[in-house]
């Protein structure tokens, strides 16, 4: 049974003449870890600001935890944990002071949990925020985002400032921990290889619209690279081809609806090889793929078979 925590229905937003979101629709189910993918400037942060009621929409409907962010922003923010990309906090406060300061803003704040997280994340509590390293700053931001036991955790490219070990720890331990608690995590990122192991569901935002939303596994099954003779490409309906590049004597195509495409090649007797793609490559095919246009680009390395 569907129990969406976040619903965007044909949401549009423009800043002056620049349309940032174009009738964007998406749904996030309760308990899921949702990866919100897009290039820089695709509209991810704008969508997140709208989720929190920090920006008004021009058109469409938004519902978060059953609330309208524009009309009930405070009730909503009390139930959401948010960590902004490059979050700037008051530099003069000590980390401990910041946690005590923030506590009364959240009715469900759990100070013992804050203490526990601060210890686990190794936040130096007596250090002034301006003297924290980038990683420590992100970890303090996480404690602030989690200590009130939010139903929904919104993370806007949170691992950006962390070193590889911290990033891995963040993704595996923290997200897994949140998943274990049944929290819904809305994770915006462009570091796809980090999102891939933890995300249940993925949405790809490009130029203000969601161009694909499905489960991570379904996406991997549905989008594949196929190597075949150049003239054999015509067998396929052009609409299902996301990317097409010459590769020596062959053509490398990335198709959506891989099962149907493979069946078609088999029925037509076309020789072909199927290559699995990772999320990075799938994302690339969606947002910068050359589709059915005649490719004039020089041959580029393609994904290696696994």
């Amino acid at each position: 049974m569907s129990d969406p925590v976040i619903e965007f229905e044909a949401v549009s937003k423009s800043f002056r003449r620049n349309q940032v979101l174009r009738e964007m629709s998406l749904q996030v189910e309760r308990g899921h870890t949702f990866a919100f993918l897009g290039r820089n400037g695709a509209g991810k942060t704008t969508a997140i600001r709208m989720l929190l009621g920090l920006l008004d929409r021009d058109a469409g409907e938004i519902s978060v935890l059953g609330l309208d962010p524009t009309r009930q922003p405070l009730e909503l923010r009390a139930r959401v944990g948010y960590l902004a990309e490059d979050q700037t906090m008051y530099g003069w406060m000590r980390a401990a002071e910041m946690l005590s300061f923030i506590a009364p803003f959240y009715p469900t704040w759990d100070h013992d949990l804050a203490q526990k997280y601060a210890r686990e994340f190794e936040v130096p509590l007596q250090t002034k925020i301006k003297h924290l390293s980038k990683g420590q700053n992100v970890r303090l931001g996480l404690v602030l985002a989690l200590a009130h036991r939010p139903e929904l955790v919104i993370l806007d490219d949170p691992a950006l400032g962390l070193d590889p070990i911290m990033r891995k720890q963040f993704n595996r331990d923290l997200i897994t921990h949140l998943q274990g608690e049944g929290r819904t995590v809305f994770y915006s990122s462009h570091l796809l290889y980090e999102v891939e192991p933890v995300a249940d569901e993925v949405a790809i935002l490009d130029q203000g619209s969601i161009i694909r939303q499905c489960s991570t596994e379904e996406l991997r099954q549905d989008v594949k690279q196929i190597m075949l003779a150049r003239e054999a490409v015509a067998v396929l309906d052009g609409k299902s081809i996301l990317d097409k590049r010459p590769n020596g004597q062959e053509m490398a195509i990335v198709v959506e609806g891989a099962e149907a495409a493979i069946a078609k090649f088999q029925s037509e007797g076309v020789e072909h090889r199927v290559i699995d793609l990772n999320l990075d490559e799938i994302f690339e095919a969606y947002v910068v793929g050359q589709g059915d246009e005649e490719s004039t680009a020089a041959a580029e390395p393609v994904a290696s078979p696994r």
Partner: protein
């Protein structure tokens, strides 16, 4: 010890604690400046100490109202902490209200301390025979608001005036990206409000419309800082018809307060533009790219012109508005000669303010944490970066105000070009003073990285330096050193010292964060 302290009791407790922490040193600094000014006044002009009771609170109201207003309006945005505040589950009017209230306390308390110190000074230090509570009446022949105690009336008038100015600055400057932009917009709007009121008064005079004239005078109470002037309107003293003014002040400031609280933090500064631009860049395949700038020097100079230019243009607009205002407010017909004198006076006063703000503005953006890393990580020669920014900012400032001063002198004496030495020397001397203010505020900002503290410290240093100079000349050298040549040498030495300090602070990335 890595345990958390207890959480604060309530949202109000948290907000008050935060604002108190952010204002306590401002309060101390402003108190020191107001009391320091009194001591300075007594050292320089002990015979006219009574004038200090008007002059110091007036100057204090303008400076404290403006700078605290700027800080209230643009401080959170300038420090990039506004998005964090916005993400909290509280209505934004709450932090807005606490911030404004604490700023008002920070503005009013030093005034009250000043009044008390003045009374002690007057009564117990100098043993003047005149009762200070009546002294103003002897000298100026009026009771502000009809309050019999002149000291209390001055305290009330100053407190109301500074609160009004603070509220106007905060409301008009809110949601800008930093303090300097907030201050520039707020200052321009305040000038325009007074311009409109003065024009109304002029029209009423011209067309003999006593009701309109009365109406405009009533509206003064709602204008920025105008409530302080209402009390010294002698007609009020005679008739005590003060309730329309009271109503105008209450309604006007009430609406402004509601507007400020409604708007505070509602917009993420620059978000709309930056988001739009990013998308435009990502989406557009073909964009015209301007040719690269010819050299590093040109590039840095261009940047500085873009940063200082708007402020100076606003200042020119304000100066012409204020000169027109002064012309319109004058009861009698004034001559071109007098207009020139007014223009000269206003240029000097606004010049002081603009030099102070422009100096702070030179490195305001560059020394913000992430921006600082950005430009320092480029292959840029620090000396070139510092030197070009400093010189271009100074040239814009000095050229603009020099031309305005020359225009003022031309209006005063159309034949001055035939005998131009004196006005040019005078303009040059004041140009050096402006340059020192500009350099000193730049240096204090580079060291403190806090606009308001930099402004207060600059004023303190200028005042202290001037007093020390007069005191040393007077007490140790019997006025034999008191000449323009000595003043010039000291100006140049101070200029060199301030420039070296600013350069070292930029080069070595020194900073003494006040909070």
């Amino acid at each position: 010890m890595n345990d958390l302290p207890q959480p604060m009791r309530s949202v109000w407790h948290s907000l008050l604690w935060k604002e108190w922490h952010e204002h306590k040193w401002k309060l101390a600094a402003l108190t020191a400046v107001s009391v320091g000014a009194l001591i300075a006044f007594d050292l320089v002009a002990p015979d006219s100490l009574l004038s200090a009771l008007i002059g110091i609170p007036t100057a204090f109201c303008i400076l404290a109202g403006t700078f605290l207003g700027m800080s209230t309006a643009g401080g959170e945005s300038g420090r990039k902490t506004l998005p964090f505040l916005q993400s909290l589950p509280i209505p934004m009017w709450q932090p807005g209200a606490v911030k404004l209230s604490m700023a008002a306390v920070t503005a009013i308390l030093p005034l009250l301390v000043f009044i008390v110190v003045f009374w002690v000074w007057w009564t117990f230090l100098w043993f003047f025979s005149i009762d200070i509570s009546q002294a103003g009446i002897h000298r100026f022949h009026y009771h502000p608001w009809g309050i019999p105690n002149w000291l209390a009336a001055t305290a009330a008038g100053s407190a109301l005036g500074v609160s009004s100015l603070l509220l106007w600055m905060a409301a008009m400057g809110s949601n800008r990206s930093d303090e300097v932009r907030s201050g520039a917009i707020g200052f321009l709007i305040i000038c325009m409000v007074w311009f409109v009121l003065a024009s109304g008064l002029e029209l009423a005079e011209k067309w003999h419309l006593p009701t309109l004239k009365y109406g405009v005078k009533v509206l003064f109470a709602a204008a920025p800082g105008g409530v302080a002037f209402v009390g010294i309107d002698k007609q009020l003293e005679n008739h005590f018809v003060w309730w329309p003014h009271f109503l105008a002040a209450t309604l006007g400031h009430g609406c402004l307060l509601a507007w400020y609280l409604r708007r505070f933090g509602k917009v993420v500064p620059g978000s709309s533009r930056s988001d739009g631009k990013t998308l435009a860049l990502a989406g557009a395949k073909y964009q015209h790219l301007a040719p690269p700038m010819r050299s590093r020097l040109t590039a840095i100079a261009w940047k500085q012109v873009r940063e200082t230019g708007p402020l100076v243009l606003m200042a020119i607009g304000s100066i012409f508005l204020m000169t027109t205002l002064a012309y319109l407010f004058n009861d009698r017909r004034v001559s071109i000669h007098e207009v020139g004198q007014t223009l000269s006076g206003i240029t000097m006063s606004v010049g002081f303010f603009v030099a102070l703000v422009a100096g702070i503005g030179v490195f305001l953006e560059d020394l913000k944490p992430r921006v600082d890393d950005f430009w320092r990580s480029r292959p840029v020669n620090y000396l070139l970066w510092f030197g070009v920014k400093f010189v271009v900012g100074a040239v814009i400032l000095i050229t603009t105000f020099g031309l305005l001063m020359l225009l003022a002198h031309w209006l005063i004496d159309r034949s001055f070009l035939r005998n131009a030495m004196h006005p040019i020397l005078t303009a040059g001397f004041f140009g050096l003073v402006f340059l020192l203010i500009y350099t000193l505020s730049m240096a204090t900002y580079c060291v403190l990285r806090q606009p308001l503290y930099a402004a207060v410290l600059t004023i303190g240093l200028l005042m202290g330096g001037w007093i020390a100079f007069l005191w040393i000349c007077h007490d140790f050298f019997g006025d034999s050193l008191l000449s323009w040549q000595t003043a010039l040498v000291l100006l140049l030495l101070s200029q060199v010292a301030a420039t070296v300090l600013a350069w070292q602070a930029v080069k070595r990335n020194w900073q003494i964060a006040a909070i």
